[in-house]
Amino acid sequence: MITPSLALFYLAATLVMAGALGVVLTRNIVYAAFALLASLLGVAGVFLLMYAEFLALVQVLIYGGAVVIVALFSLMLTRIQDFERLTDHRQWPLAAVTAIGVFALLTAGILTTNVRTVERQSVGLDTMGETLFTTWAIPFEVASLVLLVALIGSIVLVRASGGRD
């Protein structure tokens, strides 16, 4: 039976998969970046359907806002024409077989495993925040440190180093 939530889920799943196929199949790398954006917004829709509204917000902000923009910027800092010349690997049929095999294996595993499920539900934002800042406070701080180190590291890496490039 198709309930409204299932129809919305199929819509989000279609967006996710269409975007993903766009990323891996298109020749133009700018189109690929926009297909990635569509796919990631579809994932935000899936988060919403799982009642994880905070994660949907984070997904749109970080992936939709930051990640795709950074990817586009890096394309513009280099020359896009060079990317367009790059075709796929000669061995792409092998890659397709591997991907389909992994998908078949995962699907077989999913369909044969019995998980005791309940009607979908989620914790509120307050409970999640409490967990994040009590039980997982130290990993959270470490993650922020990792982000800081990575960002400073990337600035140092791309900085023009006085003509000695």
């Binding site: 994880a52 800092l77 060079d82």
Partner: protein, 105 residues
């Protein structure tokens, strides 16, 4: 009615697509985008289990917390990897990963 299997199969399909991208593409930026797809597949799987499995409240919020960590690490990884790609482009005027074999033994 959405069921857990729907979410899991979507995650599996997204993961397989990302895997194909990683294996078949030759541009480093394209490979990076495919890795992002695979990370998002993992996130979909995590939120599916957090929403559907008969867990207590602590485990449910743990599923969401884990996704926050994955998104954080993915952002850090993307920033670093794009910096490395830019650097590589300046040195070699190419982002073809087949050509980058200087450290190959």
């Amino acid at each position: 009615m959405i069921e857990l299997a729907h979410v899991q199969i979507l995650a599996a399909a997204l993961f397989a697509t990302g895997l194909y991208g990683v294996l078949a593409r030759r541009s480093a930026v394209m490979i990076l985008m495919s890795i992002e797809l695979m990370l998002n597949a993992v996130n979909i799987n995590l939120i599916g289990f957090a929403a559907f499995v008969d867990f207590g409240e602590a485990q449910r919020s743990l599923g969401q917390v884990l996704i926050v960590f994955v998104i954080t690490i993915a952002a850090a990884e993307l920033a670093l990897a794009l910096a490395i790609i830019l650097r590589l482009y300046r040195n070699r005027s190419s982002v073809n990963v087949d050509g980058i074999d200087r450290m190959k033994w």
